[in-house]
Amino acid sequence: MTTVVEAPAAAVGSRVVMIGLVGGAVAVFVSANGMVEAFSERELLDGLTLGAVLLLSIPLLVGYVAGRRQPELEGFATRPPGWRNPATGLLAGFISGVTIGAFVLLIATVDLRGVLLNVTPELVRDDPRILTFGLEPGAGAGLLVGLFAVLGGLAGAIQVLPDLWRRAVLAAVGWVLAFGLMQAVVSQVLRGLQQQLRIWTEPLADFLYDTSGALSIAGITVVAVLGFCLQLLGSRKPRALVNARLERLTDRSRRIVRVAVLAAALLLLGLLPQVLGSFLSEVLNIAGIFLLMALGLNIVVGFAGLLDLGYVAFFAVGAYTTALLTSPQSSLGVGWIFWLAVPFVVLAAAVAGLLVGTPVLRMRGDYLAIVTLGFGEIARLLFLSDWLKPTFGGAQGIIQVGDITVGPVGVRTPQAFFYVIFVFVLLAAYATYALQDSRIGRAWMAMREDESVAEAMGVDIVTAKLSAFIVGAVLAGFGGALFATKIGSVFPHSFNVIVSITVLVVIIVGGMASVPGVVLGTMVLVGLPELLREFEEYRFLIYGALLIFMMLRRPEGFIPSKRRAEELHEEEIAQDEWLKTQDTGSRPEPGSRPEPGSRPEPS
């Protein structure tokens, strides 16, 4: 019945060579652009620097991809996993190894530094010979070839494992990397827990990490086993179990559970900034401000489909309005309290939204992008200009922006500020959900899908567009207000096009029109780089690569909105056929799904 389909050997071979070469090219690239060297300043796992991990992860990835099993096609049996998987992995790793080995020999003999600035002597020629792990170039190149091949083979061998085990192995690797990279966070949390709750957690940090901050051998073992076991045991069942149990509860007890969950969440929240300490809270606050903006831009781009590349303008308007009204040093010099300034922030942002929104009302998507980009630059330049210096302070900005006060208490510390930001974010998230499921939200989405049809169906495009711009502008304005207060000063340089792009990237990578996606996107793309300052220099390189990769592989984002995630109902057409046969007889209950048994056979 079923046949084993063998891909032609030549095709398999060329694919493996291709993967190997791409891996090799990536290895050469990260070596030549200084990433390996920059990252080797940090010890990640006991004895292994981040740079080494980066380099060695290439054969692992290459081997894993090259050794991948054939895709399963219905009606065809796939070849059972076997020796071929590690073998192809090994081959691909070997090819990558040869490439990087050749590069090592090249830079050992020719000085490329005149052109390639980051090919320093420390890579291969002088100690510590980062690329060759301290060996002479010749031996080092050999070592690299061998190491790459072996690791490629190992990674290919993972493909032989049954699915469940394979996932568990991957989880273990992921956990180890995450714990290694997030050393600062993990140890701060453990320390914070001990300080706040008097529970015995700090020694755990000393156990996991050695003095240089690298994950110790014992730590690696524990974390890997933990990741492995959790993946093995966890696999989604608990959630289903909880849901099933919740469904069986009565209304009343369900409400109790809900209140309890809420209470627990609030408690956790109360503790969070204390446990995280001031620096991590600060990072959360930065992410929170971006999250606020991302939620706003999500309405403009995600819901209404208006590609706004000048979103930073509204952020700047919010920040400057706050600064003008709360700083005694500003040109207004009134020095109001923050809360008094908030209505004016809303007003100023809304007016800015109208000013940007009106001229672009009749512009098509791509024109919109470039014009809004222009507006963003216009805003920055005006705030910066000598012309408006008497009002906005020009390049010197406005300092001494007032604190936020709650009653008599100021909230300048990051921990206290966290709550303020949290409240704003919560409001923004609620507003997003509320608007999404409303007349105006539907109008936005209809406009996004097809503007002229939306208008023909009764949507007032002018109102819909302007209101999207206004809501987006107000949320960004809040972000700006909080930003100005948090920093305590505003400078025009904080408001360049990079901010707009970052926010856009956040919502796209996270998942457009999806609040959880936006949250995750912010944490990964804004929070993480703050923690991993090693990456700072390569931040935009990584951003760029990530963007391309995401769009090619997962254009709907990490956590897509529910609607986009829904699978195509392939039984649709079949159901129509089925209905047709039923038409003569009694109609089925509306809403009942066709029974699987009655599905017609495809002819």
Partner: protein, 421 residues
């Protein structure tokens, strides 16, 4: 179901108990030493004394910060790596040369109770928020390259708007460089009309303004105070305006690459073909700038390059360690700042069986009291607003004879020292 509720109640009670525990008062520690109002740092036996370095180490301004980080490393080596038998450890945080970077890095230092002092920031914009955060925690901050008047004072007794207790600097105040450049242009060159160009950077804008103000005070006229934007390439239109205002000198204290475009395109204008009418500042004193043919004859203002054996010695160590010469103008200032901090620590630290206590208030006071300290950059004395520099400004000229930046720096035409405060 009832068991579930019980479980839940138990959980809730547990969490509440934990919260209660968290709120319990902290036990007091320390015995013989009583900390002052700002608290104190206690360094345990064998533990390092931690110094924060708040410097721009990435992006366009990376060289500014890197240079200072290296200078502090040399200062530590000169101390033998130890202070009061404790190793000195530095923690470098990037200020990104922006207010946001200053905030984040400031919070990171503020979160670490072991940080005794912070040397930085590189950029004035980052200093504003960082100063506020660190000052609030009582952490001493001393910068080797901030020059904005708002951080300290206008040198006439008016406190700068951003000034906070606990912030000091060994770099000169912009006002002085403005005075120096204006004095040179007006008195030595005899220029009566000047044009200024800045690029919207707070540093260049502040300096161009300071120059303009001093020039006017001396009796000159500023015929055009204009600006360009970072990223501009075509300077000919703005130069057309400059030329139309017929200045005797053009002061543009900006950076590369915009300054490259200005000097290269200026040669197309007869009025500016004489490169002696072009006047830059320390941001342009770099090897990649002076190699441009059209900079020959140009003047530059900048902090005086230290002289003397100790400085030669310092440069020797620097070159040996980093296999290049100092790359920016502010390394010596940070070296001095580090040494002032070390001296103050040595002065106020209280030893107690292997541990040392450093009282933050006393540490600050000690630095403020610095008087006639002999550093690489001259004799340093701190005023009440934190200006400690011995602000000598050199005006140098790039002529055909000068091939390297050091030679240009050495070709001093005029040294400005402000009248005693």
């Amino acid at each position: 179901m009832s068991t579930r509720r019980k479980q839940f109640t138990a959980c809730l009670v547990g969490v509440l108990a934990l919260i209660g525990a968290a709120c319990a008062p902290e036990e007091e520690k320390g015995a013989g030493f009583t900390p002052g109002p700002l608290g104190a740092v206690t360094v345990d036996t064998g533990a390092p004394i931690k110094i924060g370095l708040l410097q721009a180490i990435s992006g366009d301004t990376a060289s500014l910060g890197t240079d200072q980080v290296r200078a502090v490393e040399i200062a530590i080596e000169d101390k033998g790596g130890n202070l009061l038998e404790h190793p000195i450890r530095t923690q470098v945080e990037d200020d990104l040369c922006k207010a946001e970077g200053g905030t984040t890095a400031g919070q990171k230092f503020a979160a670490d109770p072991q940080i005794v002092a912070v040397i930085g920031s590189s950029c004035s914009g980052a200093a504003v928020p960082a100063m506020e955060i660190l000052s609030g925690k009582g952490i001493l901050m001393i910068s080797g390259s901030n020059t904005s008047p708002i951080l300290t004072s206008d040198l006439r007794g008016k406190k700068g708007t951003a000034n906070q207790k606990g912030y000091l600097r060994t770099a000169h105040n912009d006002i002085i460089q403005g005075q120096a450049a204006a004095n040179f242009a007006f008195q030595k060159l005899g220029a009566k009309k000047a044009a200024t160009i800045h690029d919207g950077d707070p540093y260049t804008e502040g300096l161009a303004n300071a120059f303009g103000n001093s020039f006017k005070e001396l009796g000159g006229t500023v015929t055009l105070a204009t600006a360009i934007s970072k990223g501009d390439t075509d300077m000919r239109p703005v130069l057309t305006e400059v030329v139309a205002s017929k200045p005797d000198i053009v002061f543009f204290p900006i950076f590369q690459p915009e300054a490259d475009f200005i000097v290269k395109q200026a040669k197309g204008f007869p009025l500016l073909a004489d490169t002696k009418k072009l006047f830059g500042a320390d941001g342009l004193l770099s090897n990649t700038f002076i190699v441009i043919g059209q900079t020959e004859g140009m003047y530059f203002s900048g902090p005086a390059t230290p002289t003397g054996a100790t400085y030669t010695d310092f440069v020797g160590k620097y070159e040996k360690k980093f296999s290049e010469k100092p790359i920016q103008a502010f390394h010596a200032h940070s070296y001095d700042a580090a040494n002032m901090v070390f001296a103050a620590i040595e002065k106020v630290a209280v030893k107690e069986n292997g541990k040392i206590h450093i009282d933050r208030q006393k540490l600050m006071d000690a630095v403020y009291q610095t008087k006639d300290y002999q550093g690489l950059t001259g004799t340093l004395s701190c005023d009440e607003f934190g200006d400690c520099a011995n602000p000598k400004i050199d005006i140098v000229q790039n002529t055909a004879a000068q091939k390297t930046i050091d030679q240009v720096r050495g070709n001093v035409l005029f040294t400005f020292e402000p009248p005693a405060r």
